[in-house]
Structures are given as structure tokens and as C-alpha cells.
């Protein structure tokens, strides 16, 4: 049951997106996430969706996987849309009791829904096409100017690497402990919410204890392999910007410019 978690899941591949410099990908995804909130008209919104669809196509990630990754946000999506439909004031289309539905409300709801879908999809596209280590590596390098401000950049990146490394191990262990407790007669699948939360305590306590033991072992192993912080450290993988990276940056810039243009020249619906 726990193996369904897809945080930071990576689908190895050799597509254009896989081969892009992870630093570029990271920055472009952030730009995109901000850019989806620029347009206030249908054309601009269509543009951002179109780019996303092209990227998904380029990544050769099966659409099924993408859809599966979007499923968990559907409740959130439904909730924000509903709130928007009822809250935004404007031309009233229908009315019952204290609820009023306005045309503007429906538009806003649609925009918000599409935007959220776009940014979640873009984010997962990043993790699907970039190995976790490449990602943390890129993050470390992008943030390295912050070292001047005494931000522990290397330590943050190392913590993320280790966290990602141990997610599957800990999930496996949780499953094992749950089975062990069930074998002892623990009941985790019935009763009300409070009951079930209580039933998790005998799982979490051993999990915590074993995590500390693992942490101690890992620290020993790292010390044995001469780990002494980020100072004087070299990296196996060097990042080089190639033509594809520059093209990607250019495309993204073009998109942002186009979106701003649509805001200026197309009739706003928001």
C-alpha cells in the first residue's frame, strides 16, 4: 500500500528533457510555475497548457503516469474551484438560498484549476525526468552564491540526498513493522480515525528507534569514507550547458513574453 507514494519518483530515460542540464530544468520549472499565473485571458492560458503538453510529449513519460501523479491533487482542486465559484462576485447566473454562482466565479475557478494542474504537472515532470541526486546537486549549485550569507547550502543538499535515499528503505521498514504488529494482533484497518491514529503508535515508535540506529550507522559509514563537509569536495558529474539548454531557456523566455503580450492585446476574462 505504501509503495504507491511517488515523491521524487524518477523514470530513467534518454529523452531531450532527461538530458537537459538539471540546473536549467530547475530554474525553468520555477519560471514556468510563476509564468502560469501571468495570463488573464484564454489565449495565454492555452499557451501555457500547450507548452506543457509539448513537454510531456518530448519527455516520453506515458500520459498514464502523468495522470496518476495528478490524482492526489484532485480533492484540493475541487475544493478551491468550488470556493471560487461561490465566492467571486459578478454577474449572477444562478442563486439558491445563500449561494450565488457568478460567471466570473466560474471563469476564476477554471483558471485556478488549470493553473494548479499545470504547476503540479510541471513539477512532477521535473522529478520524473531528473534523478534525485542530479536534482539536489543542481540545487546545491544554484544556491551556492548563498554561501556568502552563511547559508549551509552543502548541508541542505546532503540532507535532501540522504532523505531521498532513505524514503524507500523506510517505507519498506514501515511495511515490515506493520506486518509484525498485525501478526501480533494489532488492528489498523478498522475503527474511527482516532482509533486508527492510535493504532499507528506501535508502528511509529520502532520506526523512530530504528531510524536513529540507521542514522548512527550512516554517519559512521560516511566518516569511514572521509566525509568532512562540503569543503574541498569534488563531484563525479560536471554540468555543462549545451545548445539544447540554451534553446530551452530561449523557448521559456519566448513563452513569458508571449503571455505578457496576450495580456496586453487580448481581452481579459478575469
Amino acid at each position: 500500500m505504501l509503495s504507491d507514494i511517488t515523491i521524487g519518483q524518477f523514470f530513467p530515460g534518454n529523452s531531450v528533457l532527461h538530458r537537459l542540464d538539471p540546473r536549467v530544468k530547475l530554474i525553468l520549472v520555477f519560471t514556468y510555475i510563476v509564468a502560469v499565473f501571468i495570463p488573464d485571458n484564454w489565449l495565454g492560458l492555452a499557451l501555457s497548457v500547450a507548452l506543457l503538453l509539448v513537454l510531456i510529449g518530448l519527455s516520453r513519460i506515458p500520459p498514464k503516469v502523468m495522470i496518476k501523479g495528478l490524482k492526489p491533487v484532485l480533492p484540493l482542486l475541487a475544493f478551491t474551484s468550488l470556493i471560487n465559484i461561490f465566492y467571486v462576485k459578478g454577474t449572477i447566473l444562478a442563486e439558491f438560498w445563500i449561494f450565488k454562482i457568478s460567471l466570473e466565479g466560474i471563469y476564476t475557478a477554471l483558471f485556478i484549476a488549470v493553473r494548479i494542474l499545470c504547476l503540479i504537472a510541471a513539477g512532477s515532470l521535473l522529478t520524473y525526468t531528473t534523478s534525485p541526486t542530479a536534482l539536489t546537486d543542481a540545487l546545491e549549485r544554484i544556491m551556492s552564491p548563498l554561501k556568502v550569507l552563511h547559508v549551509p547550502v552543502h548541508e541542505i543538499a546532503m540532507m535532501m540526498t540522504i532523505a531521498l535515499r532513505f524514503i524507500p528503505t523506510l517505507i519498506e521498514e514501515t511495511d515490515k513493522i506493520m506486518s509484525a504488529q498485525k501478526a501480533r494482533g494489532a488492528d489498523m484497518e478498522s475503527g474511527n480515525l482516532l482509533h486508527r491514529v492510535k493504532a499507528l503508535i506501535p508502528v511509529l515508535v520502532p520506526l523512530f528507534v530504528s531510524s536513529f540506529r540507521r542514522a548512527y550507522d550512516l554517519a559512521t559509514a560516511m566518516e569511514c569514507r572521509c566525509y568532512h563537509g562540503g569543503e574541498g569536495r569534488t563531484r563525479l558529474k560536471q554540468f555543462h550547458m549545451v545548445l539544447a539548454d540554451y534553446i530551452a531557456v530561449a523557448v521559456m523566455l519566448l513563452l513569458v513574453v508571449l503571455m505578457i503580450m496576450t495580456n496586453l492585446f487580448s481581452s481579459a476574462v478575469l
Binding site: P12, S131, P132, T133, T161, I162, L164, R165, P168, T169, E172, R213, R214, D217, L218, T220, A221, M222, E223, C224, R225, C226, Y227, H228, G232, R233, T234, R235, L236, K237, Q238
Partner: protein, 294 residues
């Protein structure tokens, strides 16, 4: 079966570890005399040798092993790795890259999600240039027979494969010695075989000094020297044949002897004319056939 690294500088033996009057105890509140973990240990290990360190739980063998790469520092006495004193703080990374250490739990010593990035961890810490790291990682992965898995996710490998990756991670630091602290204790028979085969091959082909801590006597037989510890003392030291022929002493210390050795001992005890220094199944079969032909 000496590795060729054993003889250097005109046939003279080179010392890898020299331990003199080593004493150690863990600092605990209200610790009494019993807390002494290592008591006056003196031991020399030659470069290129394969030493098995035996003893039951809590006898101090892991503590001794941690002194070999300066993870622990002696409270009394000295530990030298070649000519480097482990107390010398400037040499600690030299020592740790010379003496690689592989731990028991295969899950807890892999740092990175991807195999090759994990192997690169050691040389990255040492500040080795990227092209050189690439070479070392490839060589190390070839040496443990895991090159084809270089881009795999480390948590999806079997226990034996994970341990081989851990060995590769150590090899990438170009060590002269590998200390393995019960590397096979958590593995299935298949994984155990893989790991031991890898260790023996590295010792044989690359002349790497091996210090193996183990509970499995079948593994200790592969060494060319066996050291037995009890309660912080060295109690036996010799070739596997010498040590295991004293089966009774080992049993008094609650240690096993290899099964073929035990069989021959029991038969010998019951008056069957069998040698008592049998180590392997093959030798045992040979001795028995010889006996039956008579």
C-alpha cells in the same frame, strides 16, 4: 596463498598495522573496570595478508577494527597504519583512504540513490578531479562485478549486491587495506558467497590487505591468519589450521569450528584415526576416503 603485495622492498615484509599495548574503554557514567573493551593488545598485520578476526559478541573485535582507521583513538598505547599514527589529526583522511571499512548493515552504508554516485562518494570527499573519479568508479565497479548495475537504484539491489557496492565504494578510494566488520552477517547464503568471493578475489588479484571480522568459520578458513579475541584480549593467533585444530579451546569460548573440522574432531574423540587439522569439506572427504580404503 599469499597475495603478491605481501613481499615488497626486496622480499622484506611491510607492516600494514602495528598495534602496541592498545587499551580502550567506552566512556560511560559509572563505568567500572569491566567496561575495559580492549586490554593491552599488541598485534602486527603484514601488508598483503588476509586476517580473520574471531570472537563472540562483545569481545571487542569491532572496537579493535575501528582503531584501524582512526574512527576510535587509543586511550593507551598506539596504533600505526604503515608509518602513520592514528592519533595524528592531520593524517586522518590519509588513514581512512588507506584503510577502507565495510560495515555490517548493507542498507545503512549506501549514501546515494544511484549506484555509481554512491561509489563516487569517497573520492569526491577526497577532492579527486572528476575525470579521475570516473576512472576509479568504473574500475571499482568492474572489480566487484557490478559495472552493469552502475545506473541502478541502490535500494533495489539484493543484500549481497549492496555489500559489493559498499566494497566498490571503499575501493574507489584506492585503499591498501579493507576492514570488513561482519559484512555477511545480514545476508542470505547466496549473498554471502558473492561477497566472500569478491573479497578473496581482491586480496588475490590486487594484493589488498584484508581484515575480516566474522562469525562464520567457513569464511575464517579462507584467511591466511586467524586471530581470536576474548574479553578484550588476544587469545589465539595463527594459521586457520593451527587455530581450528584446538577445537576444544574454541568451544570453551563458545565459538564454533568449521563443520568438517568438528566432524573429524568428534570422530577422533571416539577413537577413529582421523587427523584433527582438517579445514574444508574436500579435505574431510579425502581423509575419510583414505580411512575407508585402509
Amino acid at each position: 596463498m599469499w597475495g603478491y603485495g605481501y613481499l615488497e622492498s626486496g622480499g622484506k615484509q611491510v607492516t600494514m598495522f602495528s598495534v602496541n599495548d592498545l587499551c580502550f574503554k567506552y566512556e560511560e557514567e559509572g563505568a567500572d573496570e569491566k567496561a575495559v573493551v580492549l586490554d593491552n593488545i599488541s598485534l602486527n598485520i603484514q601488508k598483503g595478508s588476509f586476517v580473520a578476526l574471531l570472537g563472540h559478541n562483545g569481545c571487542g573485535k569491532s572496537t579493535l577494527a575501528k582503531h584501524f582507521n582512526a574512527m576510535l583513538l587509543p586511550l593507551g598505547g598506539t596504533v600505526f597504519v604503515k608509518d602513520m599514527d592514528t592519533k595524528d589529526e592531520d593524517k586522518v583522511y590519509n588513514i581512512r583512504s588507506t584503510v577502507g571499512m565495510v560495515l555490517q548493515n548493507p542498507d545503512n552504508q549506501l549514501i546515494s540513490t544511484i549506484v555509481e554516485e554512491d561509489v563516487a562518494f569517497g573520492p569526491e570527499n577526497l577532492g579527486v578531479p572528476p575525470e579521475e573519479i570516473r576512472k576509479r568508479v568504473d574500475n571499482a565497479l568492474h572489480a566487484v562485478g557490478m559495472y552493469d548495475y552502475r545506473l541502478h537504484a541502490s535500494h533495489k539491489l539484493s543484500g549481497g549486491q549492496k555489500q559489493r557496492i559498499a566494497i566498490a565504494g571503499v575501493l574507489a578510494m584506492n585503499p591498501e587495506c579493507i576492514v570488513l566488520d561482519e559484512p555477511t552477517a545480514m545476508l542470505d547464503p547466496q549473498g554471502r558467497h558473492e561477497v566472500m568471493e569478491t573479497v578473496c578475489r581482491l586480496h588475490r588479484e590486487q594484493g589488498i590487505t584484508v581484515v575480516l571480522i566474522t562469525h562464520y568459520m567457513e569464511e575464517a578458513v579462507l584467511a591466511d591468519r586467524v586471530v581470536v579475541m576474548e574479553q578484550g584480549h588476544l587469545v589465539m593467533d595463527g594459521t586457520p589450521r593451527e587455530v581450528f585444530s584446538k577445537a576444544q579451546i574454541l568451544k570453551d569460548m563458545q565459538l564454533d569450528v568449521p563443520q568438517p573440522t568438528e566432524l573429524c574432531h568428534l570422530l577422533h574423540h571416539d577413537g577413529v584415526a582421523l587427523p584433527t587439522d582438517v579445514l574444508t569439506v574436500e579435505e574431510c572427504v579425502e581423509a575419510l576416503t583414505l580411512l575407508l580404503k585402509k
